[in-house]
Subunit: 351 residues, 2 copies
Amino acid sequence: MTLSQNHPMIDGRTQDSALIQALTGKKPSHHPVWFMRQAGRSLPEYLKLREGVSMLDSCLDPAMASEITLQPVRRHKVDAGIFFSDIVIPLRLAGIGVDIVPGVGPVLDTPIRTAEQVAALPELTDEALEPIREAVRLTVAELGSTPLIGFAGAPFTVAAYMVEGKPSRDHLGPRTMMHTDPEVWDGLMSWAANASGKFLRAQVEAGASASQLFDSWAGSLSLPDYQKFVAPYSVKSLDDVRDLGVPLIHFGTGTGELLTAMRDAGVDTVGVDYRIPLETAIERLGQDVSVQGNIDPALLAAPWEVLEAHVREVVAAGKNARGHVVNLGHGVPPTTDPTVLTRVVELIHSL
Amino acid sequence: MTLSQNHPMIDGRTQDSALIQALTGKKPSHHPVWFMRQAGRSLPEYLKLREGVSMLDSCLDPAMASEITLQPVRRHKVDAGIFFSDIVIPLRLAGIGVDIVPGVGPVLDTPIRTAEQVAALPELTDEALEPIREAVRLTVAELGSTPLIGFAGAPFTVAAYMVEGKPSRDHLGPRTMMHTDPEVWDGLMSWAANASGKFLRAQVEAGASASQLFDSWAGSLSLPDYQKFVAPYSVKSLDDVRDLGVPLIHFGTGTGELLTAMRDAGVDTVGVDYRIPLETAIERLGQDVSVQGNIDPALLAAPWEVLEAHVREVVAAGKNARGHVVNLGHGVPPTTDPTVLTRVVELIHSL
């Protein structure tokens, strides 16, 4: 039985939407589309709103986070909002010193590397999540029948930042720790799984109609390491919202080798990176899950005829899946011309 | 027929070495091992020698490049030297403004993005390669029966730096260009293929006993893009040394999906990233090529018993291949304790 057969908490507001239908393997009235990182980055109205406000402060200002979430829905007429936030917000709300340094990424005051540090990690409380719930409430009140997708970083991606203290290319620190100190690793990943799970739950309880778990760095792992040291904790995060019944999406980049393991975390839809032809991904994943993806973000800067041909190919390939939510195979590049995204949505809706 | 059946140019000095035997599918007397990036980075004697000398200047000083190449062979008793150089050295020798910025990587004075810029790229002359040949001659004179491996960046990896002008995570610039301006892309990749091919050839003619083509960024590509826009140019680089008859190695990271395509460039040995279990790689690659790899660099920082168990597993898995050169699945991390590498070599030689 797939999870899609029972979604008690999806309210009437969004259950007939193309997004929810496609995520759960039903037949939507049109091809639903949204873009990872559609909120922020490439939009001039976003850059204007964010002037003088730090990234994490903007995430924690409910009115601002809501407005940023709504901007691309108004502009592009996409089929879903993606909640504007950051995967390190649960850390900040738990009281861990972390900031987003422009041009660098998340930087922690102190990397978390010892058993003592892990044991001392502060718990993320329900009260601390109130700005998130408030932003979601403001957003869904405006969205009407358009669903809002909540999200969280998967425990491995969050833990990778915690151990390195900053972005890294090879994630050597966390990858060493999982083999060297399995107990410390278990403690850290359990903390991260709980924080991400609570973050997902707060969003759904406040009105999000779907949840996406992002594992940005899972592609740095071998399948055996992923299965042993990572997947069980991703399952724990997802378990924290499973009873709420919204469709669950699982995405990572460079994860061709991990696709079926990510499916087996128990999700309705697997996000497919641009590196894997969508037909290949569908063959691997089978017909018990829907797929999401996988327009190559590099082609957003190509001439329209090149991009159009590619989008048509992706949509055609998706017809072999149980359900298909059109998306990019990675986030919107910051340099993207927003008018191109709008035109892509129009094309997809016309097909 | 595989290339390994005919290597007219391997001189008597190294043809019976364990490395050459394993690369070409014969039976070596012991398990050969070397480490990608063994020269430089982690060695105190290297850091001392490099004091006050820029990276590219050290590569172009024949005595220094030779000494740096020899240091890890003396210290670790590895079965091969890897020539100390950089994949952007051919650009510098052709007269393109490029430098290695510490903490950043290769940075070009001017990114190469237009048809005019590509048409104006200066040719790499044989004369300009003389410091490379001299460094190789000095090195092989010291190495005795230990083979020297020459290397070059694969055209895609070189072109990615040329288009972006600096390191990037997603390589959007080159990936857009291949679809948007296929003719400009062809011109750029043909230039890079020629430069890398000449760089490989200079090393072999001066005494290198094998050649490795490194495609660091190939893992950012889908298989169709790799096959159409990248592989033909890698073949061209390899073609430039094929008649010299030395064994050819092809390596990239994140390339699980590309392994057979990389084999099909016509090489004796495929390097396997740490992300793919070696037994999986051998199954995919078959028995017409040898494999090289794939100790996880993250485990070099683990307690010895964890690392030892992993090394034993890798060596055991390699027995199912036509031939196996033990190596890391990615370069030596700069923070590696050199005594650990020496101990790994001792272990492998004892098995």
